[in-house]
Amino acid sequence: MAHKKKERGPGNNEPKQTPGEEQATAESEPEFSQGPPREETGELEGAVNEAEGELDNLEAEAKKLDWIDRVIDAMSPYKMELSGFWNRNASWTTYNNEEEAERHSREIRKRNEEELAQEGEGETATESQEARFEWARNIGGFFEKYIIPVTPIINAIERRRNRRFNEDITEDLMTRERLGDELYEAVADAPPVLTTESEEFFELGDRVSGSTACGRYYCYTNHITIESSEGGKNEADRREIIAHEQRHYYSHKGRSVNGNASPPDWLDEGITELGAQRYVREEGFQPSGVSYQTEVAATAYLEDVVQSEMGEVAGAEALERAYLTGDFSNIEKAVDKVLGKGTFAEFVEKENGAEALEFLASKIKESGLDYSGWNDDVVLQDTWLDLGEIWKNA
């Protein structure tokens, strides 16, 4: 953005006067006054020079932003390579047990508290905190008498159960067969460490990030956290959240080991969630909901397309391998073969799962591929998406 300087000419240096000021000047300084006094003119010139200096600075800032914009645009084709470079060179921190991970959590909590205190938001209660306080006030003495004394016991039981779920899931997911030799070797000494954190811990994080969460994976570590809900969440949902976060860990490690970029966030979440949902269902649990539904649907259709080219088992394995290593070249080949050259590149360029889903459905329909039965997937059945409408309008 270029700022056009105002030209200096007669009158531009004149101070603005209100009618009252004009009268006062006329009364105190009669006929010999030839404009503002010298001292005032000097101040005015100084002010104008200062303002011009400010404008020059703003112009320089604007140019800098424009320059940054151009650099970002120029870099965008290389985003994937840069992301791969970052993944390859990132330094990892491994937590060997819950105690070490809890120390990490305490550091995170302290940093978030300090950040909010610095912003002057340290004492501000969030809406949900307020709601809880209100609830506690309403039930009066019952809370102090019955709930507070047993809370530490409930929390301890919950932490122990979550730890057991985490170990179960690790045992199932962290296998050579699922992860492949290279990734298995990379994570064998660093199984995921889970800590169960209080609602306050999550609220502090939410206030810093401005978004809500019930699970977090700290990138380039093996540490995941889930929110303590004091028994509010059922076992299936807890297992699903833990499996989801564990999958983030394995895929991050796999891309790091292979030096590959991460897929776009919407695809990453789609594959992560679809895999976690399938795993917990295989284990006999029924989660109460599916997260990232359009992303999950786009992923399921992507898998169907790949399977139509590679076969059911090989197709599913190829997509999982791509997810874990970051190397999607085989997926790209299969998709482009079935739906036309450049389709996969266009698919991953979409801004979100909904647009990717709509795009993929239209390409599938255009190709004449038989998609009947694709919506029978048990995970898709549990979404609130009107998948019929997607195909109708594709």
Binding site: L65, I68, I72, I108, R111, N112, E115, E119, G205, V208, S209, G210, S211, A213, C214, G215, R216, Y217, Y218, C219, Y220, I241, H244, E245, H248, D265, W266, E269, S291, Y292, Q293, T294, E295, E351, N352, G353, A354, E355, L357, E358, W384, L385, D386, E389, I390, K392, N393
Partner: protein
């Protein structure tokens, strides 16, 4: 939920543009601007949740992405906030 219809709506298109701008700004801005965006997006999504819950659901990953960028700009730490 009828995605096709939602994606044709003015609200969806406006939200998409806003999200794109925020993401771009968060890639280059300092802490002060990040805090401003944090408040803007918090209000924006909170309104959207009340008035357009279906559109709100469609932008689940976008909300997550923005939250992660804000968290990273403020704390320097990378986390997946699910």
């Amino acid at each position: 939920m009828k995605i096709h219809e939602i994606m044709k709506s003015k609200e969806y298109k406006e939200a998409k543009d806003k999200i794109r701008d925020w993401k771009k700004q968060l890639d280059r801005e300092g802490e002060e601007e990040t805090l401003k965006i944090r408040e803007e997006q918090r209000k924006f999504f909170s309104e959207m949740k009340k008035n357009n819950p279906e559109i709100y659901e469609l932008f689940a990953v976008s909300r997550k992405e923005i939250g992660e960028k804000i968290y990273h700009n403020i704390t320097g730490e990378e986390a997946i906030i699910d």
